[in-house]
Amino acid sequence: MSTNSPPQTVTVTIDGAPGQAWAGQSVTAVLVAAGIWPLRRNPVNGQLRGPFCGMGVCLECEVTINGRPGSRSCTAHVTDGMDIRTHTEPLPTAAHG
């Protein structure tokens, strides 16, 4: 097995924009490599949040992957054609009555 051949590249879409990644990389890694840190807003105070623990515990890194919301980006791996959506738009309402 060669350790010199470059990894296979796949194309993913992040918030509608196409990008390149190595097959097998974690979704979080691809986002970080693209300089995309804020991934969502805290539902209580609206603060921007990004990946924190990297091991599926804190759930701060949840994004929508291929239409499935609440997907942990740190434990998911990219595949060719994957659609990744972050949710950093301001919250519609702080609370409801």
């Binding site: 051949s5 097959a23 990389q25 890694a29 840190w37 924190f52 990297g54």
Partner: protein, 460 residues
């Protein structure tokens, strides 16, 4: 209703595919028992023997080949490996485990004669103003990015906290081209001056490994600043600067695009605690550890615990403890077999425990008393230290009451990030406030997709 869950049987379920679980599963299977090895992750290895994805292994080589070998042996021994399987609940002393397929959400049930919890640990974080900003992460996250994905967590990285783990993380970051602006160690574990030269530990036992890392850091011009800590992080949409406080009161502001802060590890004890296993406070007083004997036997008949989830002792100890627990289970479930001699393993475990105790003394935790009142403690529910202190100071609330009064610990991480801090803050009072020392473990152990439950039943 239980019939909506597909059931399966095994002599032993091992929960957690890290060093302890792998070693245990191997011994159990070689001893002739049917073993199912469960892990939430999609690969075996746990955190230490984490697998680099196949596509990246081809390009960058195998990561920690010892793990690859161990996993190969486990598979050859015909252990039933079920990765991508979350154990979200248990009952009947662990003889019934409830599972969920991480990909499909399908529910399952496993019936066993004994269960070994080898659920490992997660990183210990301590809150400071700005710790919820994007770009502030755990050192483990940075390590994962560097080793698994070959991505530097930032270009100008500040590493801080305490513990020997900061050293390999720093080295891994250098390897992928990150620049380390500062490595800030709260304590004074390394010899002054010598650290800059590649230095040594005061305790010779830890010398070799740490010295190698320190040497690498020195070669890259990274100085370990001891007796310093992160005071606050700043940024708008992500972290851009950090204040480092020194013991002499000096405060230095550094520009950074990734701040990694960690204070060692916390055992992941939900499963044994859910099953009602006797616990005792760890030395920090903010964790409840399962009470185990030398072989990982707990107060719950049929439930065993091994590895970091019984107390942080590291990868070597986890492997040995896993084997010891497996031999204890074999003596119990396969009494007809000649018991394997375990005196050597026990000696080795004791020696590794002493090693771990040494680390605890070298890298003590900071006090929580100086966390500013307006600092968010519960990241999920946005609860501040002041709100938690206020709830505790009414005198009405123990830890559980404080949770109810403030919602701290009620968010999606289920108190994993803040539990030990809330315990420390809420436990400041006297009398009954000291009684409760950690959040109760509840089912589901992780948030559970409800699709399967909701769709799984026809109307009678």
């Amino acid at each position: 209703m239980a019939d909506l869950m597909t059931g399966s049987e095994a002599d032993v379920a091992v929960v957690g595919g890290g060093p302890a679980g792998l070693h245990a599963a191997l011994v159990l299977a070689q001893g002739g028992l049917s073993v199912v090895l469960l892990d939430e992750s999609d690969t075996l290895g746990g955190q230490y023997y984490k697998r680099r994805p196949a596509q990246l292994t081809a390009a960058f080589g195998d990561f920690r080949p010892r793990g690859t070998e161990l996993i190969r042996q486990v598979r050859e021994a015909e252990v039933v490996v079920r990765t991508g399987t979350l154990v979200w609940g248990a009952e009947d002393a662990g003889r019934t485990l409830f599972t969920s397929d991480v990909r499909t959400g399908a529910l399952g049930r496993i019936n066993t004669r004994a269960t070994l919890a080898a659920t490992g640990a997660y990183e210990r974080s301590l809150p400071f103003p700005g710790w919820t900003l994007p770009g502030v992460v755990t050192p483990g996250f940075a390590l994962h990015l560097a080793t698994m994905d070959r991505v530097p967590v930032g270009n100008r990285v500040v590493l801080a906290g305490t513990g020997p783990f900061l050293l390999p993380v720093a080295c891994a970051l250098l390897e992928v081209g990150a620049r380390i602006e500062a490595l800030v160690e709260l304590n004074h574990p390394y010899r002054p001056r010598a650290s800059a030269l590649g230095g040594t530990l005061r305790q010779p036992a830890r010398l070799a490994e740490a010295a190698r890392y320190l040497l690498t850091l020195a070669r890259h011009g990274v100085r370990v600043e001891q007796g310093a800590r992160v005071l606050a992080a700043y940024g708008d949409t992500q972290v851009t600067a950090v204040d480092i406080g020194h013991e002499d009161g000096r405060v230095r502001r550094l520009e950074t695009d990734a701040l990694c802060v960690g204070f060692g590890f916390r055992p992941s004890t939900e499963l044994p605690r859910l099953l009602g296993c006797d616990t005792q406070a760890d030395p920090t007083g903010t964790e409840q550890l399962p009470v185990v004997d030398a072989d990982g036997t707990t107060s719950v008949d049929g439930l065993y615990v091994a590895g970091d989830c019984a107390g942080i002792a590291g990868v070597q100890a986890a492997g040995v403890r896993g084997q010891l627990a497996a031999h204890a289970i074999l003596r119990r479930l396969a009494p007809e077999r000649a018991p394997a001699p375990v005196a050597g393993l026990r000696r080795r475990a004791r020696s590794l425990d002493r090693f771990a105790a040494l680390a605890d003394r070298l890298y003590p935790m900071p006090a929580t008393a100086d966390i500013p009142d307006d600092t968010q403690v519960c990241r999920c529910e946005g609860v501040s230290a002041g709100e938690i202190r206020q709830a505790a100071e009414t005198g009405w609330n123990d830890l559980h009451g404080t949770k109810a009064a403030t919602r701290a610990g009620m968010g999606p991480c289920q108190g994993r990030e803040c539990g030990h801090i809330v315990a420390a803050l809420a436990g400041r009072g006297s009398g009954p406030n000291r009684a409760a020392e950690c959040f109760a473990a509840r089912m589901p152990i992780r948030p559970l997709p409800m699709a399967a439950t909701v769709e799984g039943q026809e109307v009678p």
